[in-house]
Every structure is written in C-alpha cells, then in structure tokens.
C-alpha cells in the first residue's frame, strides 16, 4: 500500500526566512509525485509534478526536489501570501489514471 508522510505538521516562518518541507513516501513503482497547495475551504491547487529521482522544478519562490524516498519543497524568502497547507501525493505505476495517495499536509504560516 502506498504511503506518504509529511513533516513537520505545521511550520511558522518569519517573512524572508527560507525553509524546507519534507515528504517521505513508499510506493510500488512511482509514476509521479505531486505537490499541491490548499487554501482554507478550497480544493488542492496543483504546483509541481516530479517523475524521477534527481528531478527539480521551480516556480517563483518554490522549488521541489525528488529522491528515491523523499521529496522536498524549498521555500525561499517566503511572503505572507505563501501561507497555506502544502500537500504531497504519489501516484503508483498501476496506470495513467491510478489514484493519488496524499499525505496529511504541512500548514505553513508566514508572519509579516
């Protein structure tokens, strides 16, 4: 059974204070690892897909990296508008429409 563990559960940063969010996973053949952002009362909003170890993707202040066991979401010089819950999910190799397995998420608060 696919499993995703995210840590820490919550993170409070000062504006400009860079940090990293961790996602550890076990999956029977990784088809893709996904990062989503979720604001309160909203659905998950897609950020990145990573497919193989060593891959990196960047978007504004966010950079996602992938190893064979973990993914990191690095946040450089965060702003208050980066405050949200960040979800990590994996898709196994069963098929193009196989389910995503999510972690519990990391709630990030950025203070001005």
């Amino acid at each position: 059974e696919d499993q995703v563990t995210q840590s820490p559960e919550a993170l409070r940063l000062q504006e400009g204070e860079s940090s990293s969010l961790n996602c550890s996973y076990t999956v029977s053949g990784l088809r893709g690892l996904f990062w989503y952002r979720q604001d309160p009362g909203k659905g998950p909003e897609f950020l990145f897909t990573l497919y193989s170890a060593g891959e990196e993707k960047e978007k504004e202040r966010l950079k996602a990296t992938l190893t064979k066991k973990e993914s990191f979401l690095h946040i450089t010089a965060p702003k208050p508008e980066d405050s949200a819950t960040y979800l990590c999910a994996v898709q196994g190799a069963a098929g193009a429409n196989s389910k995503l397995t999510f972690g519990k998420g990391i709630t990030l608060s950025v203070r001005p």
């Binding site: 009362g41 659905g43 909003e45 897609f46 979800l87 898709q91 069963a94 397995t101 999510f102």
Partner: protein
C-alpha cells in the same frame, strides 16, 4: 483558465437521506474522480471513472455510493443513505494528461 466546478458549495442533510453532489469537469478531460477530506484528515481517494465506467474504487466507496455521468458535461456522486461519518469535504477532480485538477469541493454536513 478552465476549472472544475462543483455544486452546491455546502449541503446539509439529515442522516438517512440521499444526497447528490454535482461536478462539471474540465471540458476536454476524460478521467474523473471523487476524493473526500474529513476535517483535519488526509485527502482520500473514493473512485475513478473513465469511458463511462468505474476504473478503481476504494474501500470507502461501498454500496451506499454511486457515480454517474448523466450527460456530456456533468459527473455526479450519490450517497444513498447518509451517515454522520459521511460529513466531509467532497472534491471532484479531472484530467486529460496529468496533473489532476480539483474543484473547490462540496462541504457535506450530516446531522
């Protein structure tokens, strides 16, 4: 930008009643999903749907649940006899090529 739309945004129902949650996926997408999120817990897979049939379902998706694509645009989740533990956010999602795009959910409250 095209988006997945869900109605209603909030539904309150009494235990034992039937509810239908509605979704309009992105128009050229072929794969459709329902996920749910109980307050404070993980987003959990319920069911996937492709080519007018269920592709995969979780243990949660028992005989009380059903899905339907009644026409070319809508995708529905029916819960036949709601229980208190069905209270959750229900998210519809769709994709053509990855990634999965989610709607903003229907908050179902069962009293």
């Amino acid at each position: 930008e095209p988006e997945v739309t869900q109605t209603p945004s909030h539904q309150v129902t009494q235990m034992g009643q039937e509810v239908i949650l509605r979704c309009v996926p992105i128009s050229n997408h072929l794969y459709f999903y329902w996920y749910r999120q109980i307050l404070g817990q993980k987003v959990e897979f319920l069911v996937s749907f492709y080519n007018n049939e269920i592709s995969e379902k979780s243990e949660i998706f028992d005989d009380q649940f059903s899905v339907e694509r009644p026409d070319g645009s809508n995708f529905t989740l029916k819960i036949r006899s709601t229980k208190l533990e069905d209270s959750a956010m229900y998210f519809c999602a769709s994709h053509g090529a990855p990634p999965l795009h989610f709607g903003n959910g229907t908050r179902l409250t069962v009293t």
